[in-house]
């Protein structure tokens, strides 16, 4: 979406905006987070499902996207049978499809942990949480780049899920910060493999990205994984 003039328009700020506009939005949010905690959702898979929506559905709104992605995740992971929800909505009797269910002990532990994290957390949990639930992983190799190195983003986005903003394809920048290795979304979105890769914050000058028509004194800072970058 970044830089795409098709989406340009005025930005409407709502005064005193509520956290949720409709009760179903709150419910969708709560279900997504409950499923995420108790059934270990894969948020890269969720993002991938959102990106696969047709444009019309996508543009209907944030929680419409979430609801769709939640349903897809549940189906892909066989917690719901394909079409089971639609059948229910048509009023058809449940044909008891063979769907998965985690062991009782697993559900109990994860429910407990989720409820701990969904409340003001004690200091020990705040300390533990980013390590237990974060995305940093042991680096599989030495980083290919160091802060200050020149890099160029791949000329095209690879097929499938990726976190390369399209407007950066082929653009040159400078590594500003190395974050160490993190879960690689391109692979993780497909299933369970995490394939950790080094992550860098790369600095791009506005003119490099948008050409001479760029606003003056604009810099873009974007987090990019090592496989997205070539040495420059």
């Amino acid at each position: 979406m970044g830089g795409n003039e098709r989406f340009f328009g005025p930005i409407d700020r709502e005064a005193d905006e509520p956290v949720f506009h409709e009760p179903w939005e709150a419910r969708t949010f709560g279900l997504m987070m409950a499923v995420g905690g108790i059934l270990s959702a894969n948020f890269d898979g969720t993002r991938d499902a959102i990106e696969r929506l047709d444009e019309e559905t996508y543009l209907r709104g944030y929680y419409v996207r979430w609801l769709h992605a939640l349903e897809r995740q549940l189906e892909v992971r066989r917690f719901l049978a394909e079409g089971e929800l639609d059948a229910r909505l048509r009023g058809e009797a449940s044909h008891a499809p063979a769907t998965r269910k985690p062991p009782r002990w697993q559900k109990a532990i994860k429910t407990w942990l989720t409820r701990k994290a969904m409340a003001p957390m004690p200091a020990w949990l705040l300390h533990l949480y980013p390590r237990a639930q974060g995305f940093a992983r042991k680096a599989p190799s030495e980083p290919a780049f160091q802060p200050g190195d020149g890099v160029r983003v791949l000329p095209r986005r690879p097929p499938g899920h990726t976190r390369i903003p399209g407007y950066l394809c082929g653009r040159r920048g400078k590594v500003q910060r190395a974050h160490g290795a993190m879960v690689f979304p391109d692979v993780h979105a497909q299933g369970r493999k995490e394939d950790p890769q080094h992550l860098y914050t790369v600095r791009f000058e506005g003119e490099e990205v948008w050409g001479p028509g760029s606003e003056p004194g604009v810099v873009l800072l974007v987090d990019l994984f090592e496989p997205y970058l070539e040495a420059q």
């Binding site: 003039e5 409950a34 993002r47 969904m118 200091a123 976190r163 992550l199 004194g217």
Partner: protein, 198 residues
């Protein structure tokens, strides 16, 4: 496959929840607790406390700029979408603004859930391309001498803007300072004292 209408959407979500409960995959109390947590405990007041502390305590500010996840945890804030927090500092020469062009990534533990405009195609498409124009439309005029840094949250790293402490606030205490720190100033589309209050 998904209906537009609010009442259709409500029916669909209700049916989905009923199915998940029948299958004993989740429990309703957990869903209630999650919603309540985000409606009451998690919001921009958390981030405002972090900013105000950084304004009055130089040692805390240093820790915040070094590791914002740990600094936020010191004040009791953390959780989903805040596992890798980074604070970026505004100065007289540099102004920072945050977006997620690919989805709507946002530092929940310190700012709460994102407002609609942050998730809108208009903001996401424009702020990387014409940030000065966007900021000016939103009421923030920046001199051409100020470098505008746009942070596009494309990984699991989440960004919090540390705004400049307004002039003339030397006599204010931490709590009064926190009241000046709006949500929008921590996204980078307003100055403290401007935009929505926490």
């Amino acid at each position: 496959m998904i209906e537009h209408d609010n009442s259709d959407l409500a029916t669909r979500v209700e049916a989905l929840e009923a199915l998940l409960l029948e299958k004993d995959l989740i429990d309703a109390k957990t869903v209630d607790q999650i919603i309540e947590h985000y409606e009451t405990n998690v919001g921009p007041l958390n981030g405002a406390k972090v900013v105000a502390r950084a304004w009055v305590d130089p040692a805390y500010k240093k820790r915040l700029l070094k590791n914002a996840t740990k600094a936020a945890a010191e004040l009791g804030f953390g959780g989903p979408q805040g596992e890798h927090l980074v604070a970026v500092e505004n100065t007289p020469e540099v102004h920072n603004v945050v977006v997620c062009t690919l989805c709507s990534c946002y530092p929940w533990p310190v700012l709460g859930l994102p407002p609609n405009w942050y998730k809108s195609p208009e903001y996401r498409s424009r702020v990387v391309r014409e940030p000065r124009k966007v900021l000016s439309e939103m009421g923030l005029e920046l001199s051409e001498q100020v470098e505008v840094r746009v942070w596009d949250s494309s990984s699991e790293v989440r960004y919090l803007v540390l705004p400049e402490r307004p002039a003339g606030t030397e006599s204010l205490g931490e709590e009064e300072l926190a009241a000046l720190v709006s949500r929008d100033s921590m996204i980078g589309v307003a100055k403290p004292g401007q935009g929505s209050s926490p």
